[in-house]
Amino acid sequence: MPLFKTDKKPSRGPAGRWDVVVTEDMCKACGFCLAVCPVDVFAWRRAPNKLGWFPMYTEKEENCVGCMLCYQICPDFCIDVAVKEEPAADRGSD
């Protein structure tokens, strides 16, 4: 299985249920998260951050399937992936 996936797969299954947070001011633009992600979540910003790098951001967070590969591979502690907390109105049956 390749490490980096240039062709992103369509999002299925648990897509849309994940919060993906990138602390852009800490990103050093290594590109690992975008390359390792199997679906299409990340994209490059067009303006540099305070460190002088063009950081990554979650352009399409809704595509995230929760594989956690980006969290594991980020070398700068920038990424957090967690299940979205359900808003109170959606809990229980209607």
């Binding site: 690992f32 070398p75 502690f77 920038c78």
Partner: protein, 283 residues
């Protein structure tokens, strides 16, 4: 920053001084996962680091007590520190130069004594902090800043060295094996004895540039991945393959160094007390 970094690291030292695409931060993230999954608090763990990329980029990032020893001597300091503070978990995070070159003597004797620490030897296969000279773990024939005609000396695997010296837990992973590394570090920390975890990781600025011909972060991490799998992307074999996994697990099978010392003290003092009692009984 991610939640574990917030829980355990020193905010003023993050982002680290590591280059972009360097594996040091990745591995530290996995160490934090292992520490968190074991339920350890910041005050339960002491980080000891050295000199060189791994030592300096890791030093002071840990929010708890930590030391950055002189080059190669983190284990010598840990030998004394463990006697004074035996109940803490020690993560000695050092590079291939620090552990397997200048510090090999202390590595061997800490393993021999079964000192109760976990050494994370993060190996970027050269002295990258000083610009990319070769080290005892640089693969044969590779061109580096001080082997312009190709690495002529044979290299060795520090895992073999510590295993021969008596280490009770020896394992190897790479920078593309996150789950395995977290699991292995947890096992290593659970060993009350000398644990050695050897993690190969990419350097883009120096090893990548001079030995692999590129500073491209993706290409260099892919090189690590290929040499972990033994196969390149096109299916052909790599020039060598790293043997990863647990190489030796004799966890908790023999007494740990500081315990040996404490037990000896107890014996000596019990002996003294018995002699004193016998003397006063005779008087």
């Amino acid at each position: 920053m991610n939640k574990l970094a917030q829980k355990y690291l020193r905010p003023s030292q993050i982002p680290t001084k590591a280059c972009h695409g360097c594996g040091i931060g990745m591995i530290e993230n996995w160490l934090l996962q292992a520490i968190d999954e074991l339920g350890l608090k910041q005050e339960d763990v002491i980080f000891g680091t050295g000199i060189g990329c791994v030592g300096r980029q890791t030093f002071a990032t840990w929010g708890g007590d930590n030391f950055g020893a002189t080059h190669g001597r983190a284990l010598a300091v840990a030998t004394g520190l463990k006697l004074a503070q035996p109940d803490k978990k020690y993560l000695i995070v050092v590079g291939d130069g620090d552990a397997a070159s200048i510090g090999t003597s202390h590595l061997i004797h800490a393993a021999r004594r079964n000192l109760g620490v976990t050494v994370i030897c993060e190996d970027n296969m050269g002295y990258e902090s000083t610009g990319g000279q070769f080290s005892p773990t640089t693969p044969a024939g590779y061109v580096t800043n001080s082997s312009p005609y190709g690495m002529a000396e044979p290299s060795f695997d520090p895992c073999d060295v510590v295993k021969a010296a008596g280490a009770t837990f020896v394992a190897e992973t790479t920078a593309t094996q996150w789950h395995q590394t977290v699991k292995i570090v947890k096992k290593a920390l659970a060993n009350d004895g000398f644990s050695f975890v050897h993690v190969r990781f990419p350097c883009n600025e120096n090893f990548g540039a001079y030995a692999l011909g590129t500073r491209d972060t993706l290409k260099n991490l892919e090189w690590i991945y290929e040499h972990t799998q033994g196969r390149k992307a096109d299916g052909s074999e790599t020039d060598f393959t790293w043997e990863t996994g647990i190489k030796h697990d004799a966890s908790n099978s023999r007494p740990e160094f500081s315990k040996i010392m404490r037990d000896m003290n107890e014996r000596v003092r019990a002996d003294m007390a018995a002699k004193a009692a016998a003397k006063s009984a005779r008087a």
